[in-house]
């Protein structure tokens, strides 16, 4: 974070992050949109270093609090977008318009995004432990047998 003379603001970066996530990482997603979101988020994360704190007090400094929150939110947002981009299937609230079917062979797994400091998070997977509810097609249209 910058002492003085910075060009970035917490509110400005946060607004861009929110807009990007609303637009590309909601329920309906696409490879194209998520690629754009990942690029924007990487850019926002590098610009985050240029945020200036205007509140220099030591008492209940919400300017600092919000700046720290934004840093964490950007990391989470990037983990979400990168994992969604790597998951080339549709499942639950992750609906890929370019991969409409569920693919249990490849993706009946938890996505794990590994923190990589300034680098893009690495996405890996771990097995799902299935207990009582077996995976199946969730079809509420009435047409499914």
């Amino acid at each position: 974070m910058q002492e003085t003379g910075a060009t970035e603001t917490v509110a400005g970066l946060r607004k861009e992050m929110m807009h990007t996530m609303e637009q590309h990482a909601g329920i309906y997603r696409s490879g194209e949109g998520l690629t754009a979101a990942c690029a924007t988020l990487a850019d926002l994360r590098s610009r985050y270093g240029g945020v200036e704190l205007h509140d220099k007090t030591n008492v209940y400094n919400t300017d600092l609090l919000q700046a720290l929150e934004l840093g964490s939110m950007l990391e989470c947002a990037e983990a979400v977008a990168q994992s969604a981009l790597a998951r080339r299937e549709s499942r639950g609230a992750h609906q890929r318009l370019d991969f409409a079917a569920r693919d249990d062979d490849k993706y009946l797994r938890h996505s794990l995004a590994y923190y990589g400091a300034a680098q893009t998070p690495r996405v890996d997977y771990c097995d799902v432990v299935i207990t009582r509810s077996k995976p199946g097609v969730r079809d509420y249209s009435g047409g499914h047998e």
Binding site: T9, V10, A11, H54, D55, T57, N58, V59, Y60, N61, T62, D63
Partner: protein
């Protein structure tokens, strides 16, 4: 969506640089559907990032954004700007020390809340495998209203008794103690009585009723306090007229 110009007069205080709190005016353009919290967020984002206040949910659930708005204790997220004319005066919650700007020191309330043990002290302790503690809708109705408290402390800011006698345990703490006392699963009343039936408990209340008027969740703490008074009166008579009946 219609927009209009408004002015807010916000009490500012920075303990590191200010000797005493002072008002600062902000002139902004607001939208018709905004609440005071939206206006504060707009100021923090676009005008003055040093303005400090607590908030979280923006939907009257978390109880963080209690403040005085034109002299009345309100949740900033529930106070619509369209209901005010002229300059809107925003101050920290009355009766609490100011930490910074609109942020108050809430230790007194937190300590009192802890003292009344606002949690289930089971009458009959069951093993986990024995299942849930079941309750009928009628049993639930005996306390449901009092369980709606969100600990926003508006009732403390409204209560003239709390302003005069800071030791008074106060509306929300009594209402919450009463909530658990009324619970069919609970057996902790005897443990809570020393706190809420004391002089600085329910008996400090002179039934002004301001707590119930400002409560954003319609808990009616004043009603709870009067019920506690009745219960402790019955306790007193039992203890003195029928001492062989152990509480």
């Amino acid at each position: 969506m219609s927009e209009r110009a408004i002015e807010l007069e916000v009490l500012r205080y920075n303990p590191e640089t200010d000797r005493e709190p002072a008002f600062q005016r902000y002139a902004i353009t607001c939208r018709e559907e905004w609440v005071v919290l939206d206006a504060l967020n707009h100021i923090k984002e676009n005008v003055d990032p040093t303005l400090s206040y607590r908030w979280s949910c923006h939907m009257a659930v978390c109880g963080s954004c209690g403040m005085m708005i034109n002299g009345e204790p309100k949740l900033a997220c529930k106070a619509f700007l369209r209901e005010y004319t002229g300059v809107i005066r925003v101050e920290p919650l009355r009766h609490f020390p100011v930490e910074r700007d609109l942020v108050t020191v809430i230790d007194d309330f937190m300590e009192k809340l802890k003292r009344v043990r606002p949690y289930l002290m089971p009458k009959d302790v069951k093993a986990l495998e024995a299942g849930e503690y079941r309750q009928t809708p009628a049993q639930l109705n005996r306390f449901k209203q009092y369980s709606m408290c969100i600990n926003c402390m508006l009732c403390y800011a409204a209560c003239p008794e709390y302003g005069l006698i800071p030791k008074y345990i106060g509306p929300a703490a009594i209402a919450l103690a009463h909530r658990w006392n009324q619970d069919s699963r609970d057996g902790g009343r005897a443990a809570r009585q020393p706190e809420i039936a004391a002089t600085e408990g329910a008996w400090e209340c002179s039934f002004v009723g301001a707590c119930s008027e400002v409560c954003p969740e319609h808990v009616d703490p004043a009603g709870a306090i009067q019920q506690v008074k009745i219960r402790s009166t019955v306790d007193w008579y039992q203890e003195h007229l029928m001492p062989w009946l152990k509480k």
